[in-house]
Subunit: 346 residues, 2 copies
DNA sequence: TTGTAAGCGTTATCAA
DNA sequence: TTGATAACGCTTACAA
């Protein structure tokens, strides 16, 4: 590497034309005679010349990449197969739009620098909330972004799920299966943003769980209902499971706010010969890839990850191309995905 | 969007200083008086000024991103939890180096344009082989890259696994468990590169399987040994399973060249009430995340995905920073991961 | 401590 | 069909 870079000037000089001509040879093929074009291309090929993409972007303003803004660092986030589906959804649109995707994550523990410096035409944000500093920086960048999971009052397009209803339906189902003693596991918030804040997503799901409890006269304060928290990873789920099973009053059902946590709990059960759903019922949220391969298959709430992501990507592409958006806020329905991990004990 | 961009000139003009001063305020804090600095920052903050990263890069030459060059498009690749671990490994290094990661995948069905235009300091390539056109373009970009899974004779640093040995050991184990009638499933090659070519990786694993067969006097041509191919996805595995089980002479063991395929086969078995490993033994390759959560837990070959990725990222960072590389070719050992999906029938 | 001005490598505009 | 040349917005010697 670091042989000196070959520039458009080199090519122009060698052939004895202006660099404009070389530039046109690479771009608008029309203007140039076929003979000139092939002469230029031959020389370029021989010298291994590729137009410097940074310089090109400086004038064209078109980059060809969109940024996926993660709420946590890569190492943490990519524990969760959630992101497989999400990125697939984004990718399905990008591939036909000449776009690649960049993963924008905190560096040196700070996301703001990443957002300031990354080279993208637009962002898809995940769980980013308006009061965060990152949000303001995003605005300053004056490039479009679409929010997943957070609908704001402002004019930021968003794609969300009906999390509250999804959580409500799941809890209702668990209650109907006769469970009265329940552990709810919510996830710990992203700390990467160096700000304390409430998570809208978490709150919505909690509200859903609670409203279903209320319907049958229970509440989160009932003795038989206990809430736990853990990191949103497999290991987080395993750890919190240990905690739950060490208590005297064991629940009959565990509701995890995320599949990966539920899978962690199941993994703990497997290791400790706790039979699911015979000894304990477990369910999750998200319907991440492979969540149906657990044994037993995990009952969960499908939140249309792929569709949300591809819709967000489509909206973003429209913004980047200065098209009108037909809708600014799209909400997907959640779907209760009943599989085999909850037992009827009524 | 598309309010006119605020530039360094605007800030300079408003305060009545040169743009150099503004630039220094944002970068080398030393030179500037604290008072001036805060004045500049205040104005910048008020106007929402962020230095244009593209312009900045044009002079600094430092981007802050590395590209992960996928062999297939995103939608296809991200079926495989393999990439979760891989990207985690890369991310673990990037986070401490001020780097984000870009996923470089084919757009409009062509990877070469992506490689030509993406804004990265270096690449990590996956299964990219020297005879591919993409390889040449990569060279032309004159930025460093590190190859995962393909060791070349040339001076491209590489991180590989001992795939041949890993495959050999796995097959040996399966044979020792008494299996003589075996289906081997290999994966179909990436077509995104628009070139037909042999896959070094696939060949190595095949050679490993075959050499173990040979040791007990069998070969790929034996009647009891059948090879299949499918796409390297869960669905691919499900489909090929249907094929395998529709044959008259069913194998007692299925060896998939990739965990995700094996998981697909298991999924098919589950749906069709075929008990693993009672009715059929199954094993995979890779040891991808969640491959131990299947029922029964999948026997496979661990190929140190995370370590390979982080090692490749470390090497790449050294190249980007013009440091000497201590080693140019690193090969990781594979580890036979015996779990519960292969039954002893001897 | 601050200003001047020369790059950086393209593309785009206007002439020719 | 081609050429000059001005952007593009920043960083960084070198001067002051």
């Amino acid at each position: 590497m670091n042989k000196k870079q070959i520039t458009i000037d080199d090519i122009a000089q060698i052939i004895g034309v202006s660099k404009a001509t070389v530039s046109y040879a690479f771009n608008k093929k029309a203007r140039i005679s076929e003979e000139m074009r092939s002469r230029i291309m031959d020389v370029a090929d021989e010298l291994g010349y590729i137009p410097n993409p940074v310089a090109r972007i400086l004038t064209t303003k078109r980059i060809g990449a969109i940024g996926l803004l993660l709420p946590q660092n890569i190492q943490f986030s990519f524990n969760n197969p959630f992101y497989l589906k999400l990125i697939q959804g984004i990718g399905s649109i990008c591939i036909n739009q000449g776009m690649t995707v960049s993963i924008i994550s905190p560096i040196y523990g700070d996301i703001n620098n990443s957002v300031r410096n990354c080279i993208v035409d637009g962002f898809i944000t995940l769980g980013l909330e308006p009061h965060m500093k990152t949000y303001r920086i995003l605005k300053y960048r004056r490039i479009p972004f679409v929010s997943i999971d957070v609908k704001t009052i402002e004019n930021v397009p968003s794609v969300t799920s009906n999390d509250k209803k999804g959580a409500h339906e799941l809890m209702k189902y668990v209650l109907e299966m006769g469970h009265k003693s329940i552990a709810i596991i919510s996830f710990i918030l992203a700390r990467q943003y160096k700000e304390e804040h409430e998570s809208i997503l978490r709150n919505l799901r909690m509200q859903g769980y609670f409203s279903a409890l209320k319907e049958i006269g229970l509440s989160e304060k009932s003795d038989s209902i206990n809430t736990y928290q853990c990191e949103c990873t497999l290991e987080g789920g395993m750890k919190v499971a240990e905690d739950i099973f060490s208590k005297k009053n064991k629940p009959t059902a565990i509701i995890a706010m995320s599949d990966i946590i539920a899978m962690g709990v199941m993994s703990y059960c497997k290791k400790n010969k706790i039979k699911v759903p015979r000894d304990i019922s477990i369910c999750g949220f998200d319907n991440v890839p492979l969540s149906d391969l657990t044994h037993p298959a995990l009952t969960t709430v499908d939140q249309r990850i792929y569709e949300k992501a591809s819709t967000a990507a489509t909206m973003l592409m429209n913004l980047i191309n200065n098209n009108e958006l037909l809708e600014y806020h799209i909400q997907y329905k959640t779907i209760l995905e009943i599989r085999d991990s909850v037992r009827n004990i009524s």
